[in-house]
Amino acid sequence: MTDLPKLSITSARVALQKKTFSARELTKASLDAIKEKDPDIHAFLEVFDDALEQADEADRKIREGEDLPLLGIPMAIKDNMLMAGKRVTAGSKILEGFVAPYDSTVIKKLKDAGAVILGRTNMDEFAMGSSTENSAYSVTKNPHDLSRVPGGSSGGSAAAVAADFALAALGSDTGGSIRQPAAFCGVVGLKPTYGRVSRSGLIALASSFDQIGPFTKTVGDAEILYEVLEGQDSLDSTTISRETYPSRRKFSKVIGVPRVFVGSEGIDDSVKHNFRASVEKFKSLGYEVRDIELPHIKYSLATYYIIMPAEASSNLARFDGVKYGLHRSGSDVIEDYLKTRGEGFGKEARRRIVLGTYVLSSGYYDEYYGSALKMKKLITREFDEMFGEIDLILTPTTPTPAFKFGEKTADPLSMYLADIFTVPANIAGLPSISIPSGLAHLPAQAGTLPLGILLTAGLGREDNLFAAGKEFLGA
């Protein structure tokens, strides 16, 4: 039967080929689950009305003997990936009503692989946030505890997989926006090496960091999706080939723990405890775990919060009320811009645009942006040298389990610190995966919340992430 909580991509594909159930039955089960439970969770901004038609098409292909990696698999996509003929908003009012004129490369790849795309999921506006509270449309709740955030910015995609609405989902990760919500929702989240997955048709936040990746229930499923999504694309000049980063080391089960960094202030006791247990588990699996020093990794977040707003302010300059999206009329063309952008962008987007304008302004450019670019280089070099000696770096994914709504909205800096462990991989372009690692027990029998550990590998070494991740989860 189509028991969604028990199904993975791998097991569902076997059942579909064996005709244990049809793609229509599987998609119907997803749609029923969404109808029943999503009014409480709000993972989806829109469920596409042609999902069953897509499933019928998959059934036809199965009958004709086709065997594609995602044939008949119900998936969700973050609302910042263009799908021809469908609305897409990036969680922003400035794109309300916008209909995508073409398919993003990742959507084309999902379609070619036979996936059934159920709908688009909620997100922080323009992927700016760590809780999905910055969406202009709705608040997504953590399926494990409805009083808490699902993480962000890809909170809707993480919640859709955790709530068993979809077998997998796509997100985008600029500073942790796949891995942090994956940890908060107890699912697997992968950010591939910078350049491995095309961003053509992804609404950009910070172009030197953005990467698309999957949310799944198992590491094996993440690998399947990675294989579908990756590849050089003439429509995205930043994509790389498999040969770009020749592998320097044979995988030999050596994990480095940046001990000082992991001991940073503000790490919850439940996270520390779980991390120690995870280290022990790796040791029992035959891994050598070493303490390592990356002296400048602690500057990653500061570096990120200079470069990211700088790039965001440039990328968001295209939303001018002229070519597409919201338009508000003023007395002249400048006032058109001011009103359109003032009303169309939410508070966090306005904050980052102004901050980005500041760090790029003459007089501050070298001091902030110039220094940040140099620091990025220094951090990248440190990682690169380290991956000559070890295979993987292990940290917790997040400093705390999922927090409550409103807990961090008053102080933007406290929200930014939620990304402390995930940001370094974006700074250095490294592949990085969050894997469920157990539960945090809340005080006074208030229940449990998922926790995640973060594995990061050298450039182009997703294979190491999959190998260690599978062993850790025992699958």
Binding site: Y305, V322, R341, V354, M375, K377
Partner: protein, 93 residues
């Protein structure tokens, strides 16, 4: 950063701020800039050249344009204000 500076930056970035927003942004920016400013203090950076960054431009030759007008209607369909096959804007000068 004072309120006037925030208002000037917002104007340059073509974003109208809400009432009172410049005040709250000026406080938040002080705290954010204080945090990110740590980056400037690292002495080792002086020895690095930002131009030899890991990022470089990838260029390609122009060529193989599509048939003129192939996407015109699709693109114009999204324009908030149009006149015929043109996007309409207020006068610039």
């Amino acid at each position: 950063m004072d309120k006037e500076e925030v208002l000037n930056l917002a104007k340059l970035a073509r974003v109208e701020l809400k009432d009172g927003e410049a005040e709250s942004l000026s406080c938040e920016f002080d705290s954010i800039l204080n945090y990110v400013g740590e980056v400037k203090k690292v002495g080792k950076l002086d020895k690095l050249n930002k131009e030899e960054s890991t990022i470089r431009n990838v260029m390609r030759k122009d060529g193989k344009p599509h048939e003129p007008g192939l996407y015109t209607q699709k693109i114009l369909a999204q324009a908030p204000v149009r006149e015929g096959d043109y996007i309409k804007v207020k006068k610039i000068l």
